[in-house]
């Protein structure tokens, strides 16, 4: 690799999808900066982004393929890539002979790297014909489906346009921690007189910056949004013409708000007082343009779908949905515009098995365990650490059933520790890729800037080489086009339609600067906006359990993203995270008093699924019945998270914030 400056794109599951410049000297990454040509991040990165030199040259990074036998023993042996491929290929072939198809082989891949070429994992499995594949999205599916109901497609306004808003209302979103570059657009609006309102159960870093912070009982956003809409309509501040002619369901929605939902009920459910409800309704009804941002936090509980629809409807009622600098923010799925050739690679037809088996990724282990004919026997884990899933008990059972577990990762995660084989993955600096955001509308490339760290390889390179090995041992086993280079795959994504959408002539343009999707192509209305439907409320009302409380020894567990990690990524970087940072458990004043727990005292958090030791941090702003814990890979709080099976379905993401836990002072007697 030549010395110089390369253009990379941060591939993390993050709003930023930041284009970055990588400074390379003697084949080594010496520093990174933001890319001034990227109109969203505008030449800046976040703290994690600035730590990438440590991420690449970290002594904990995996260097070589390794085999652990027996599994879980910690007895690892370095092997060659050829040996690793042989072990995997022989197992796949043997399972195929034993069961007559590749259905016993499956993978669990999610968002560790969102580059389009990382669909190589999916492409590799497709290339062997019918197999077992995950579907869905544990993070955002509830909101995606709810938005489809409201808009007929995915919908999320243009982030840079937020700078022109006059009122910005964030529902369950914490950009000061999770989307730092958005804050400058919010501040820009504020410098021009806009107000920022944050609605959240937790007094977040963004809440601390808000002009008005409204604390709410978790999961009750639906009621607050309906309540605000009720008052806006009552005060005749609604967008009458738009609602009557351009929406569906106006009459039943209005009748429901007028006749069936009382202000008392709203205040009781949400914990928000009548005065505050009136104040926010007045602002929502009198100011234009208003930005409404329904954060991912809204849909981490069983009421998520209704809350998203109710919030969308509030934006419609106030006439802000389709006006300049107003709008509705969630996230978008513009990646669907692309061919995603690796994801959609067509595999060979099997004589008797029609299609791959699909397993809901939001309850993967439990669903995979239900498969019996044939059972799942080989699991490939890539771009994924299963400590960020839930239902660990099912995972443990699944592990016991599996005959080969392969994990591709950069670090020895808990998933890797539970595997037979680990394969060292490349960082984005060591591979080529193409990236499209899910928040902003920029397209950017990722150049190979440095040689691989030791023997690390990209998911695409692994797919190419494994398919060659499969075909060597069993000719025709895989139809993966192993001769195609990364650049060929990138160019295949840049179809004439894509070039047109992003106003570029070709790949070379992206080497000079990222490119934004043309504004007029971003939102195409293909149906009338559908308002929140009261019938759904009546028919499908989930009966709320009594709220947890210290007196009952029960707390609601909330586990938001922390600043210096993304789930378990970046955890082992000493610039960012000290070892003990993981284990802080935030508790309320009331809980501290009730359990006689002092600040920084060791405590246990537990429920029937597991227990975890942490350090109590008393948070005076925390609601009395909430425990707030940070996500972690080493000491994973998700072991206490378990979504009830009857609430799992194909169109919801995981209810990460619906679990109940108890706490107590730590004592050796409990160990």
């Amino acid at each position: 690799m030549k010395d110089g400056i390369y253009r990379n794109t941060c591939p993390r599951n993050c709003y930023g999808t930041c284009s970055m410049l990588s400074y390379v000297k003697n084949g080594r990454l010496i520093k990174v900066t933001g890319d001034p040509e990227h109109g969203y991040s505008k030449g800046r990165l976040c703290a994690k982004g600035y730590a990438y030199t440590q991420y690449v040259y970290n002594q904990n990074r995996l260097k070589y393929p390794m085999l652990q036998s027996p599994r879980g023993s910690g007895k690892w042996k370095r092997i060659t890539w050829d040996e690793a491929y042989t072990i995997i290929a022989e197992k796949m072939i043997e399972l195929n002979e034993r069961y007559g198809s590749n259905l016993p082989c499956g993978y669990n891949k999610f968002s560790g790297n969102l580059g389009l070429l990382h669909y190589a994992t999916e492409g590799m499995f497709n290339s062997i014909g019918p197999h077992t594949k995950p579907i869905g999205n544990p993070c955002a599916l509830t909101g995606k489906v709810a938005n489809h109901r409201s808009f007929g497609s995915h919908f999320s306004s243009i982030p840079e346009d937020m700078a022109g808003a006059k009122l910005i209302v964030l529902w369950g979103a914490n950009p000061a921690v999770t989307n730092v570059h958005q804050m400058k657009f919010i501040y820009q609006a504020r410098k021009n007189g806009a107000k920022l309102i944050v609605i959240d159960p937790v007094f977040t870093q963004t809440a601390a910056k808000a002009d008005i912070f409204i604390q709410i009982i978790p999961g009750t956003d639906m009621y607050l949004a309906l309540g605000i809409a009720k008052l806006v309509i009552k005060n005749n501040r609604h967008a009458r013409e738009f609602l009557e002619s351009d929406t569906e369901g106006w009459n039943p929605y209005r009748a429901y708000l007028d006749n069936e939902l009382s202000i008392d009920e709203i205040c009781h459910k949400t914990g928000v007082t009548m005065q505050v409800l009136a104040e926010i309704s007045e602002l929502y009804g009198s100011i234009k343009p208003v930005v409404t941002w329904a954060g991912l936090g809204i849909q981490r509980n069983m009421y998520g779908s209704k809350s998203i629809k109710a919030i969308n409807s509030l934006a419609a009622v106030t006439g802000n949905l389709f006006i300049p600098n107003g709008g509705l923010y969630f996230m978008h799925f513009n990646v669907d515009d692309f061919p995603c050739a690796l994801l959609n690679h067509k595999g060979p037809i099997h004589p008797s098995v029609q299609a791959s088996r699909k397993v809901d990724i939001s309850d993967f282990a439990n669903s995979a365990l239900q498969l019996s004919d044939p059972p799942l026997k080989l699991l490939w884990i890539a771009s994924r650490n299963i400590t960020q899933d839930h239902n660990f008990i099912a995972w443990q059972k699944l592990f016991e059933q599996l005959e080969l577990i392969v994990t591709v990762d950069l670090y020895m995660t808990k998933s890797a520790e539970n595997s037979d084989l680990v394969l060292p993955a490349a960082t984005h600096f060591e591979e080529e890729d193409l990236h499209v955001g899910y928040w902003h509308f920029w397209l950017s490339v990722n150049q190979k800037a440095i040689p691989p760290y030791y023997e690390a390889k990209s998911d695409l390179q692994i797919a190419r080489e494994l398919s060659l090995k499969l075909n060597e041992l069993s000719p025709g086993f895989s139809n993966f086009p192993a001769d195609k280079e990364p650049i060929d795959w990138i160019k295949e994504e840049l179809t004439p339609e894509i070039l047109d959408l992003y106003s570029i002539n070709g790949y070379e343009d992206l080497l000079r600067r990222p490119s934004k999707k043309a504004k007029h192509t971003i939102h195409k209305q293909n149906q009338k906006f559908r308002l929140f439907s009261p019938t759904e409320m009546r028919q499908n009302n989930v009966r709320a359990a009594e709220p947890p409380s210290p007196e009952k020894h029960e707390y609601k567990l909330i586990t938001p993203q922390s600043l210096l990690k993304i789930h378990s990524q970046f955890e082992s970087l000493s610039w960012l995270n000290k070892h003990h940072d993981d284990s802080y458990i935030e508790i309320s004043n009331e809980a501290a008093l009730y359990h006689n727990i002092n600040n920084l005292e060791k405590i246990e958090v537990y429920n029937r699924y597991g227990q975890l030791v942490g350090v109590a941090k008393i948070n005076p702003y925390l609601q009395k019945n909430i425990i707030l814990a940070h996500q972690s890979g080493n000491n994973p709080i998700n072991q206490l998270i378990h979504q009830q099976e009857h609430l799992v379905s194909a169109d919801v993401s995981t209810h990460f914030y619906d679990s109940t836990v108890s706490i107590r002072k730590w004592s050796e007697a409990h160990v």
Binding site: K31, K209, Q215, I216, S574
Partner: protein
């Protein structure tokens, strides 16, 4: 002296994202325990991002037996690490914990306000990284703004060294906590 370069820190605009702190490490490749810039909390809602303040009367300069510190004509206080004997007197003397002891090299280093960058017209790495524009640099000989203040509650006493930093305070906000 022709200039006194200093920092402007707007506590109201700082979101505590630590990009400045890590951008400094990225630029200067300092080990984890050598923290030229640090983001901390002064109280539950006020963040402070602080490095060497390139004081008008630097205590480090005064106490160093090896005369390792110099003050440039633009006001930047430099340290020549090769002269440092590791006595740590500067660390004790500095009210802002600016000099940082590197246990591997047994020498002190500190923020030099990215003077190599400034000499070619670039802002310091921390300033460039600040996404909300909360952190900036100014020539304090020229700077006047009646809304700026000399200190923040919880910031160490400025009388000893006259640090080259000015602040904007956090503005009051409306909060409705659950009863």
């Amino acid at each position: 002296m022709f200039k006194q370069l200093g920092y402007v820190f707007n506590a109201d605009d700082c979101i505590g994202c630590k990009a400045c702190e890590i951008a400094c490490k990225n630029e200067n490749q300092t080990p984890a325990h050598v923290r030229w810039r640090r983001v901390s909390k002064l109280d539950t809602e006020t963040f402070l991002s602080i490095s060497c303040n390139h004081c008008e009367n630097p205590e480090c300069f005064r106490v160093c037996p090896e005369r390792a510190f110099t003050k440039r004509s633009d006001g930047i206080v430099e340290i020549d690490e090769s002269r440092c004997n590791g006595c740590k007197l500067c660390i004790e003397a500095c009210p802002y914990s600016a000099p940082q002891f590197n246990s591997e090299t047994q020498k002190v280093s500190k923020c030099q306000m990215c003077y190599p960058r400034q000499d070619v017209g670039l802002p310091p790495a921390c300033v460039e990284a600040c996404t909300t524009g909360a952190l900036g640099t100014v020539d304090l000989f020229q700077f006047t703004d009646p809304e700026s203040i000399r200190s923040l509650s919880g910031f160490p006493d400025i009388k000893i060294t006259n640090p080259s930093i000015v602040f904007y305070p956090v503005k009051p906000r409306t909060r409705y906590f659950l009863k």
